[in-house]
Amino acid sequence: MEEKLLTIAQAAEILGVSLDTLRRWDKSGKLVAIRKEGGAHRYYWEKDLEIFSSDLFKFASEWIQNNIEFPSAFYCQNSDTFRARLSKMEHLLMQKPGFEKLYSLVVLIAGEIGDNSFAHNIGKWPDTLGIFFGYDLGKRIIVLADRGLGILETLRQVRPDLPNHIEAVNVAFTEFISGRAPEKRGNGLKLVREVVIAQPIDLFYISGDAEVRMKGTDKTFRVTRGQRIVRGCLAKIDF
C-alpha cells in the first residue's frame, strides 16, 4: 500500500489540534514531523498519525520515552499481574464474534511479547519495573511497552557483534537465539512474526530506533529505522 505523506495543515485537521500545537509537539519530540531534504515545511506520514491518535499507544509511548505517568490500570509490575490480566482479556476475546478460534493466537502474541519483557529484564530493570499492558477489544487493539534494556542490549549479551538496533530486532524476529544464553534459545518472536504474516493481525513493534510494521493483507517482515528512539520495547497489535 502506498504510504501517504500529509502536510501539517492536513495533520492538524486529522488530529483536531492547531498548527502551533503540532509545531510545539515537533520541537518537544512528542510528534516529530518529517522534513523533505533541505526544506522547512513539516510533513507527517498518515500511518504515524493513526498510531499517535490511539490513546493507549500514546500513553505507552510517552511513558517509555519520557517516563510520563499513565493510568495505573495499564500497569503490570510483575509477571503474575500480567498473566492475570492477560487471562481476563483472553476470556473476553474468546466470546467476541469472529474470534472463537483466533483468540488464542492474539493471546499468544501478547503473551510472548509481555513475557519477553519480564524474562529479559529480571533483576536488570534500568528504572521502573514492569510493563504497560493496555487493550481495547472494541477497537481491536493491544499495546505493550517496557522501560527495560531493549532488544539490542539484551541480545548483545550473547551476540556482542550486533551493530545496531535494526540488526538486533531483525535477529530477534528471525533467528533462534536467546538473550539469556546458556538458557534455551528464544523462539517466541519468530512465532509472533509467522502468526502475524499468516493471520489477520497487524503488528507495530519498536525497540531503540528499529521499527517493524506488518500491516494489511500483503504483509512482509522488514525492520526499518524510525523517527523515534524508544527505551525498551513498544508493541501495538491490531486484529
Binding site: R83, M94, S104, L108, A119, K184, G188, K190
Partner: protein, 99 residues
C-alpha cells in the same frame, strides 16, 4: 499414561511457569514404565505459547524421545507452537491421530 495439560493452567504463556511445570511433573513421570507412552492431551488449554512449551515439551522430548505422543488439537495456538518447536529443536514430535 495420559497427561491433561490443563492441569497446569489454561493460559500457558510464560517460560518461568513452563519450567516450574516441568519440574513439578518429574515425580509423576517416574511412574512411566519402560516402554509406556506419555500422551499429552491439550484439551481445555486456551492458549499455549512457545515459551511455556519450550520449557515443558522440549525437555520432555529430550528425556523420553519417541515415547512422547501428542494428541490432536484444533486450538490454533497449540498447532502454531508445536510447529515452531519442531523447527527450533529440529525434531518431529509423534502424533496420535485419535484421542
Amino acid at each position: 499414561m495420559k497427561l491433561q495439560l490443563e492441569k497446569f493452567g489454561t493460559t500457558l504463556i510464560s517460560r518461568e511457569l513452563g519450567s516450574e511445570a516441568y519440574k513439578a511433573f518429574q515425580p509423576t513421570l517416574r511412574e512411566l514404565s519402560g516402554n509406556e507412552e506419555l500422551e499429552i492431551d491439550f484439551s481445555g488449554v486456551f492458549t499455549l505459547s512457545p515459551s511455556w512449551a519450550d520449557e515443558f515439551l522440549s525437555p520432555l522430548f529430550n528425556q523420553i524421545g519417541d515415547r512422547l505422543t501428542l494428541l490432536p488439537s484444533d486450538n490454533l495456538s497449540v498447532q502454531a507452537t508445536i510447529k515452531i518447536l519442531q523447527e527450533a529443536n529440529k525434531c518431529l514430535f509423534k502424533f496420535k491421530l485419535d484421542k
